[in-house]
Amino acid sequence: MPIRSLPLLMFAVIGLVVAAEVDYPLDAPGPDGRRPGGTLTQSMPAPPLANDENKDLKRERNYPDQPPTIPHTIRGYQVDINGNKCLSCHSRANSARSQATMISITHYMDRDGQALAAVSPRRYFCTQCHVAQKEVQPLVGNSFETIDKLLQDDANAAQKP
C-alpha cells in the first residue's frame, strides 16, 4: 500500500470511531414556540393558515417613525410597474375620496430629504415597510417599552422619595 494513503485511512478510521461514540442525540428536539414538539428532522403538520386582520382599526405605533401596520387585507392588491393599488386610495389626490390616511411627506422625499412631485421610487413598494397582520397570538414574547412608559417611570421614580 502506498504510504501516501495511510493518513487518509487513519482519518477514516478515527471518523468512524468518533461517529459511533457521539453521546448527544443528532436529532435534537425542535425549538418550542413556532412548532411545539417534534425533533429537527421530523415534519410536523403545518398550522392552519390564519385570516388577515381586517378590522380597519389603526394600531398604536411604538415610536413616531415606525411604519404603521396595515389594518386591512391587501389580498390581490397589485403593486408593480403597471400600477399601485395602494396609491389608488392613499395618494394625496385619492385620500379624500377613500378616506384613507394620506401617505406622509416622507414618502415624497428622496434620500437627501428633497421633496419630489410624486411618490419617491424608494417608497413605491409599500409592503417593504408596511405589513398586513394575521389574527394570531404572538409566537414570542416582547418586552419592548415605549418612550412614554420610560418617561412616566422616571417621573414616578423622581416623585417617590
Binding site: 390581490g76 399601485n84 396609491l87 389608488s88 377613500s98
Partner: protein, 198 residues
C-alpha cells in the same frame, strides 16, 4: 359527402320552388319544426362557445388571462362558488349576448392573424383590451357583476368597514359602479398611467 351535398341541393330546390304538392298546413307546421331545429342548433352552438373550456382553448387566453385568474377569489375560495369567463364577459340576456358575440368575432379575427399570439404582443394590446371591458361594464352599470353580487342583498354589517363605507355611499347613490373601484379583480392590470383614480 356528395350524397349530403345532393340532399342539400334538393332541399334548397324545394325551398325555392312554389309548393304544388304540400298543403299550407304542412308547410307552416314544417316551417315551425325546422325553425325549432335551427334555432336550437344555433343556440347550442352558441352555448358551446359560451364555456370556459372554449374560452381557454386558445393559448392566448390560457397562457395570459386564465393563469392570472387562478390566483384570485373568483377561481378558488372558501365556499367553492366561482365565476367563469362568460359569467363576467358575456351578457345573459339574448340580445346583449348576440351583440357581444358579434364583437367577439373580431377577437377571433385577431387570433387568426396573430395580433396577440405572444405574451409581449398581448401585453402591448392589454390596455386597449382592458379599456373595452371597462367601457362595457361602465356602460351597463356592471351588469355581469350584479348577476352574482346583488346590491340589494349586501349586508353592510358583515362587510369590512372600508367596503361598507364605499358601498353605502358612492355605490348606493349610483355615482360609481363596481368596475370604477374594482378594476383588476380577475386579471393583472395593464399599464394604468392616466386611468382616473390611479
Amino acid at each position: 359527402m356528395q350524397a349530403l351535398f345532393r340532399l342539400f341541393k334538393e332541399y334548397w330546390g324545394i325551398l325555392w320552388r312554389p309548393s304544388v304538392y304540400y298543403s299550407l298546413g304542412f308547410l307552416t307546421l314544417g316551417g315551425f319544426v325546422a325553425g325549432i331545429i335551427f334555432w336550437g342548433g344555433f343556440n347550442t352552438a352558441l352555448e358551446v362557445t359560451n364555456t370556459e373550456k372554449f374560452c381557454t382553448s386558445c393559448h392566448e387566453m390560457r397562457d395570459n388571462v386564465f393563469v392570472e385568474l387562478k390566483d384570485t377569489i373568483h377561481y378558488s375560495n372558501r365556499s367553492g362558488v366561482r365565476a367563469s369567463c362568460p359569467d363576467c364577459h358575456v351578457p345573459h340576456e339574448w340580445t346583449h349576448k348576440i351583440a357581444r358575440k358579434m364583437q367577439a368575432s373580431k377577437e377571433v379575427w385577431g387570433k387568426l392573424f396573430g395580433t396577440i399570439d405572444t405574451r409581449e404582443k398581448f401585453l402591448a394590446h392589454r390596455r386597449e383590451l382592458a379599456e373595452h371591458e371597462w367601457a362595457r361594464l361602465k356602460a351597463n352599470d356592471s351588469r355581469e357583476c350584479r348577476n352574482c353580487h346583488n346590491f340589494e342583498f349586501m349586508d353592510f354589517t358583515r362587510q369590512s368597514k372600508r367596503a361598507a363605507a364605499m358601498h353605502s355611499t358612492s355605490l348606493a347613490s349610483g355615482q360609481a359602479t363596481c368596475i370604477d373601484c374594482h378594476k383588476g379583480i380577475a386579471h393583472k392590470l395593464p399599464d394604468m398611467r392616466g386611468v382616473p383614480g390611479w
